[in-house]
């Protein structure tokens, strides 16, 4: 079980004690994987996220993080493993400058003051914010704010990072920035487990696995190519596939089979 980062066993949850929004869900998420969770509002995906972050307690079943039960007894032991990036970048700022903000988490962990500056600078540079360290967070764009939030999370050395609709409020440029950063984080640290909860299917294509929630249950789970090839199954719950798969499907219907695994390959294949 060493390689399992998150494990759910027969987990159910309800807000009103009548209707379960998570229905008897069991799953294991391996260490070092990048998982995308998609589904509509009310599908249970956000509740799932809150459960694994320890913000809600399951009504039934058990959740383990690195083999430790996620309960009142162990939560303080587990918390340092978990980093969370929330939806609204404005609600996550504490510091008066970008530097203070990244420092906050470290100070909380009683990190020695003299070692803090180089560390802050390192993480700021990882998210491309070195030049903006002494700016006020209020003057940053949405994408920049989320990058600062991510630097703050990274500086705590979490083993699991959950992005809870972290790109939903950003403009296309901001979304792109964050997705590139996620890619970079994966390359930098292969041990890091990343979970993104998202509405946007285009963002899920580079992940190792896609989990589709519907009506509180896991509706589909698998590699992106396996999930998105079943376009009809997704469309029956009114989710669509990413552009790559829609284009491949359309070409197949006129008798052209395409092999590409990314949009860039696809351009090359269609018009070399």
């Amino acid at each position: 079980m060493k390689n399992v980062a998150i494990s759910l066993k027969n987990v159910s949850y309800s807000y009103d004690k009548k209707n379960d929004v998570i229905k008897n869900v069991s799953l294991d998420i391996e260490k070092g994987k990048f998982i995308s969770v998609i589904g509509h509002n009310g599908s249970g995906k956000s509740t799932f996220a809150k459960l694994i972050m320890g913000l809600l307690e399951p009504k039934e079943g058990e959740i383990k993080i690195f083999d430790l039960p996620l309960d009142g007894e162990h939560i303080s032991q587990i918390r340092p493993y978990l980093g969370i990036v929330f939806q609204n970048p404005d609600n996550q700022f504490i510091g008066a400058t970008v530097r203070d903000d990244i420092a906050f988490g470290l100070e909380n962990q009683c990190y020695p003051q003299n070692k803090m500056d180089p560390l802050i600078e390192e993480y700021a540079s990882r998210v491309g914010m070195s030049e903006l360290l002494d700016k006020e967070p209020g003057n940053l764009s949405g994408g920049q704010k989320q990058r600062v939030a991510i630097a703050g999370v990274l500086a705590m050395h979490p083993k699991i990072i959950v992005f809870d609709e972290a790109t939903a409020m950003l403009d296309p440029q901001g979304k792109d920035d964050i997705n590139k950063l996620i890619e970079l984080m994966r390359k930098k640290n292969e041990e890091l487990t990343l979970i993104t909860i998202t509405h946007n299917v285009e963002e899920t294509q580079t992940s190792d696995e896609v989990i589709v929630f519907n009506e509180g249950e896991i509706y589909m789970r698998g590699k992106p190519e396996d999930v998105f090839l079943k376009a009809d199954k997704l469309r029956s719950i009114r989710l669509d596939t990413p552009l790559l798969y829609r284009v491949k499907e359309a070409f197949l219907s006129v008798g052209i089979k395409l092999k590409s695994k990314s949009i860039d390959e696809l351009k090359e294949e269609i018009w070399p």
Binding site: R246, E249, A250, F251, I263
Partner: protein
């Protein structure tokens, strides 16, 4: 034609330290029974523009013609005299005189607007319309508009029921308080409140802001259905997929001016990298193919299937 802007300028707080020019010489026509999207950055004048259509804002200069009645900056006759004086005034430039002549032309051909009639003909759904609910019950809230515009209680209730039916709110909701509904339901009730006034022009200011993708899709399908029943729709939006999938015309605003008026397919075919819009993924993809030398006619393509057929055709010829 449903709406015509002629030489419209608008200045917020004129002659004060907060004076700010928001619209510059807007000339624009919006056809009857069209679905027109208005796009542009925050601050480009989109909201200022639409508030002129039901006279929430009056032009600082110029006229707005809505359903063949005129909205003028000052009282109709006074504005006519002002324009006549401008034409005779030797200090004015020829261009100013020409504009005055154009405006006078409009004034001589149409009558002034009547506020109450205009407000019932032009419905505006503002952003987050659910904040505008106020009555004790859903039915009372929706029938408030028609009552206010002089319908009898019974007529108003019938109009309200019809409007609620249109937005998919059934009778089990009639006696409930609007405040205990879900966010999406509240929004539909608020929209029914506008529809109950039977407007011929419906203006929507980012009606899907804050909704999840499925609710947003359902909302847009509702507006498209209303459009097909013969109502002119003007939609302010940032969502290029909505522009692409529903609108018949697009107005691009920039810095208080109309940059262009076009159709969605033409817009996405030749306005690539422009920063006012972020292209829908399929269009971005097609532009990249064109950049690779693929002689694709983007304005002829509506969806992935069209693209597949077009590419097959091009390869067949090569």
């Amino acid at each position: 034609m449903a709406v015509k802007f002629k030489h419209v300028n608008f200045t917020y707080s004129p002659k004060s330290p907060f004076e700010h020019d928001a619209l510059f010489d807007i000339n624009l026509e919006i056809d009857k029974n069209s679905f027109t999207a208005v796009i542009g950055h925050t601050g480009s004048g989109k909201s200022t523009l639409i508030q002129h259509i039901n006279a929430l804002l009056l032009p600082t200069n110029g006229v707005v013609n809505v359903n063949e009645t005129l909205i003028t900056p000052i009282r109709f006759r006074k504005y006519r005299r002002y324009l006549e004086k401008t034409i005779k005034n030797k200090k004015k430039t020829n261009e100013q005189k020409e504009i005055a002549r154009n405006l006078l032309d409009e004034i001589n051909n149409f009558n002034p607007y009547k506020k109450k009639k205009l407000r019932s003909e032009v419905g505006i759904v503002f952003q987050f319309p659910e904040y505008q609910l106020f009555e004790e019950t859903v039915l009372k809230d929706v029938s408030f508009g028609p009552r206010n515009f002089g319908k009898t209680k019974e007529e108003a209730i019938n109009l309200a029921k019809e409007a609620l039916n249109r937005v998919g709110i059934d009778e089990t909701y009639y006696e409930r308080s609007p405040f205990e509904l879900s966010g999406g339901e509240k929004r539909r009730v608020a929209i029914a409140g506008i529809l109950a006034m039977k407007p011929s022009i419906l203006i929507l200011d980012e009606p899907t802001a804050g909704l999840d993708p499925l609710s947003s899709l359902k909302m847009m399908e509702l507006f498209f259905e209303i459009y097909r029943q013969g109502i002119t729709i003007i939609l302010v939006t940032h969502d290029m997929n909505h522009v692409l999938n529903y609108s018949t015309h697009v107005i691009v605003m920039r810095d208080g001016k109309v940059e262009r008026k076009t159709t969605p397919r033409e817009l996405f075919a030749d306005l690539k990298g422009e920063d006012v819009i972020s292209l829908p993924p399929l269009y971005k993809f097609m532009h990249d193919l064109v950049d690779r030398g693929c002689p694709l006619k983007i304005d002829k393509i509506n969806n992935e299937k069209d693209l597949a057929r077009a590419i097959k055709g091009l390869k067949g010829n090569a």
